[in-house]
Amino acid sequence: MEEYWLWLCSQKELYRRHIACLLGRFATPEGVFRASKREIEKVGGISAEQAEALDKSRQGFDGRESLEKLEKQGMRFISIAQGQYPDRLRRIPDPPFGLFVKGGLPEEGKRSVGIVGARRCSSYGRRMAEKLAASLAQCGAQIISGMAMGIDGYAQEAALREGGASFAVLGCGADVCYPRQNRELYGRLPESGGVLSEYPPGREPLPLHFPIRNRLISGLSDVLLVIEARERSGSLITADLALEQGKDVYALPGRVGDPLSAGCNYLISQGAGIISSGKELLESLNFHKPNHKKKENPKNLLETREKVLYSCVDLHPKSLHEIASEAGLPIQEIMAALTALEMKGIVEEPMKNYYVRR
């Protein structure tokens, strides 16, 4: 049975709705496999080319061989008929009929939190995404995201750094690393989490795949956090899907007029939860941080000059010149003090001569 599911879900020409049409007519994937080409052509929503391709692919199809080939690539196939298929996905209106998985699947008993956001994010967004993902991971939550550049990738990396589990849902085959810049993350995810996709191996990352894939990110999550999103961005699509699926959506507020926060602020105005602090978020999600260590206020360790500069730096990157005009010290002293703060690890330089609090 599973081989027929694999055969049907491996068809590059067929998206979920096509498979749904076929199953509507022939009831099981085996039924589709055994149906004549004539019959397939007659099914509504299936084009002659698709029928042709289907017909061709079943000639010489060997189910066991295909499963072995998948295994060699380090992947598994899980159809909706199997017991280990995620329950969370069964509950969404349009679950995929099969999943290609590298690594593991999200555990049913554990809470999972989706974190999504802009690819081109600010360092404020990056910082917050990493912070939230890290503390959620410490509390044992699994982080679901899309392994995209920017927020997605930063959140997942932070979760892995904390030893937590993270799962990426891709808009291409699970064996394709997209974007390529996240190679390292892609390599580490299967060990402490997983990479999954409803698209067959080798499928290219086409733009139309991503909005469809977003329903799986929200579907696999119990709560969705939107960190930074522009207006009309993919993250807002994910948020909409999450609401349709009945999930809670939280958004990170930003400054009015900041295009990167426009989407988040819109979500908040529409009633999304506000992420006012990491601690509060954990509380409202009923998470308890294990043996919470009280962090020493970093300011206590600083020299006077450094204290002045530390108070000039905030969560948004500021240029050396802005800081200089606020601090009113000679420029060489400012540079020396900022570097000292950077080495103490409480200030970061995300861009050349721009500084931000850690």
Binding site: R120, S122, M149, E333, K352
Partner: protein, 510 residues
Amino acid sequence: MFSMICSAALCGIKAEIIHVEVDVGEGLPLFLMVGYLSSQVKEAQERVKTAMKNSGLRLAPRRITVNLSPADIRKEGAGYDLPIAVAVLASYGHIPRQALQGILMAGELSLNGEICPVRGVLPMVRQAAAAGFRCCIVPKKNEKEGAVIKGIRVIGVSTLQEVISYLNGKHAIEPAAFCMEDMLAAGKGAKYDFREINGQEAVKRAAEVAVSGMHNLLLIGPPGSGKSMTARCIPGILPDLSLEESLEISEIYSVAGLLQEQEPLILQRPFRSPHHTVSAQALAGGGRYPRPGELSLAHRGVLFLDEMPEFRRETFEVLRQPMEEGQIQISRVSGSITYPAKAMVVAAMNPCKCGYYPDLGRCSCTPGEIRHYLGKISQPLLDRIDVTIEAPEVAYGQLTSGRRNESSEEIRKRVVKAHEIQRERYEGTSIHFNSELTAEGIRSCCPLGEKESRMMEEAYERLGLSARGYYRILKVARTIADLAGSRRISCDHIAEAVCYRSIEKKFWDA
């Protein structure tokens, strides 16, 4: 009858004495020229014959042989017209041959007998003075340029007729006069002053540090943030040119044919700003008949490369070696020549294609575009830039603030002091400035205390420095310490130097 006069050929910025020999004898009327001549020189015979005719001289048809010796130097240019004409006339007996002794001449003839200016008069006269000539005859328009050299009479002439009567002693010409002191006094004061730049304290400070150690400088900032203006101000904070330096620069300009008649000596540090479409040859020098390139023209001054990522990669590749050695060697079949090229390189670039990154509200570049833009910068060139600073957009408040800005003069005083310290330290070595320090030199000249070494170690690990970056920071820290008049490099000096470290890929990793 045989006669001989001296002229000069240019090899790089040096002149070589050339003997122009003419023999007029019996035989079929013929004008024969030998001596490894380029076609420009061979064409001289038509100009010479016609100019003589139009100067009212009728020569009997004879066999005229011209030789330019030594024969192993390639002769180029039209500067041999005048010596050839004079030597021919001497052979015909129109000019007494002994009058030609101890005289060096150069000049191009036009068909009506006028004498046109030529390139490289300054190095020619310098060489003539060194070789013990008593007099140089040069085109009128080049006489001021020649008069810069002391200890030799420089006679400016405008027609062939005038030369003949001068050499026959019928007509005296006053040697060109030139008062060096007047020129030097008039040349003081740079055109652009740091006083005119409001705000931008960090950029000014970075420029001061860079100039103090002759480090190359990179400015990164959005359009209109005053990067070019800053670069233009930099020659003004370099120490005043010494006479020797001034002559050296003037020679390069003389060879390139860029000396102005009114201003025979370059008195201000040059500022060259080639457009980014410049070819490798134009930048480094070269061509079929080699000429100095932009880097040599910026000798002892500033070479400003605006829009650095837009330059073609090959263009930069030719700069690498000259930047290291301070001179450019150009090899041709006819021999190789050397141009001096000790310039401070100041480069400027936008942080991304549209110029506004990291202001995400205005920047319209995708991460891919930003990476592509940065990928265009040549890494080897980046490795030769010690000081990098971000030039921000000027805020309105800074534009209108009435705060008095420091003038270039005040900055220069500190720079001069730092240069003095370095001169003392590097006495007797081949190094002049901190930027030239090698890894070996850094170990001996930049000793670190315990606290400072710990700081460098921390910086190395925390900031992910490369070995190259490590040495660059030490070199710059040495300069900052020199500026502060401190023998020891302190933590503050290192911390400031860290601030100037090169752009790293991580800065654009958004």
